[in-house]
Amino acid sequence: MSTYRVNKLFYKLETDQAYLDRFRADAPGELARIDLTDEERTALLAGDVGKLYLMGAHPFLMNTLARQGLLGLNRETYLQRVREAAATRDKNAQARSDDDK
């Protein structure tokens, strides 16, 4: 799965003021203009940065959502969601590796 377009969205939000303004005014409308998978679009609209992290979005780029307060996120909710997703992933990986023993 490529998260190229998701990462590109974050890149534009950090470097293009006019795009940031448009996105802030109408995120669903701007997301509709990007060739995303349904899964990516749904996760973005829900501010589900945990899911996006697991899908391979680059956290450094994605963090602009927290700093700019986009998609309903703030610094606390952003970090909480990414941490929960990573913890669940690690727990599942541990369970799988225990099963293999």
Binding site: Y11, Y53, N63, A85
Partner: protein, 276 residues
Amino acid sequence: MAKLVLGLGAPHTPHFPTVAKEQGKSSRVTMLFKRLHAELEASKPDLILVYTSDHFVSFFFDNMPTFCVGAFDAAEGPRELSRSTPHYRVTGHPPFAHALFEYGLECGFDLAAAEELVLDHSLLVPLHFLTPKMNIPIVPIYIRGLAEPLPKADRCFKLGEMVRRQIDRWPGAERIAVVASGSFSLEVGGPKMGWIDYEWFDFVVERIRQGNTADLLRRATTRRMVSAGNTGGELLDWIALLGTVGGGAATFIEPDSQPPESPRDAHAYAAWRLEA
């Protein structure tokens, strides 16, 4: 003949200029950068080379070089919208940059070259403190440090050695300072954000202090660097600097873990004086 006169290593936290302004001359950030600034002033450079890792500003995944030399006449930045770093325009040194590009080809380093760039905070924050008048030409040498896969530590060290040979063979009379911009343990936007890998940080600082470059290169695998945070690959900029300065012990290296201005950071400030 050009002459390498100084090596410096510094962090580039985007809010440091604001911190320094708000907290004044007594802040740790101000004092530590002042030490580096004094070294730079004393070395009287005519040209500054900077090893840095772009933070998805000058380059994106559409075209992201592993190694790239900035060959611009002039460039501005930073472009990041959610950062408060002051805006600057810097001048470049295209003849030196192009000569480095060509010499690289001879040495098996097929660098990318960029004649137009928008700059990011990782280049401009150190320069803000080190050369605030922005009156010395800058040639950035970019090392892919934030987006895996990363180049290998040994390769970055050899890149630094190649740059040193280019400095030594450059026919101009420039006095040249080389700066590495980066941290050793810092995560941005990922689950480890706010955590510092002190074991790694202390190990790196001690190896640089001792000039034990061989041990540092052996341990600095991508996996080890990135497990200290998703910007951990910035160590590669320091490793390239070590290649350029000859891998010897730093004149000084000042670790600054948990500075009161920014308690979740750990950074290091270092200098190599290269003139007797």
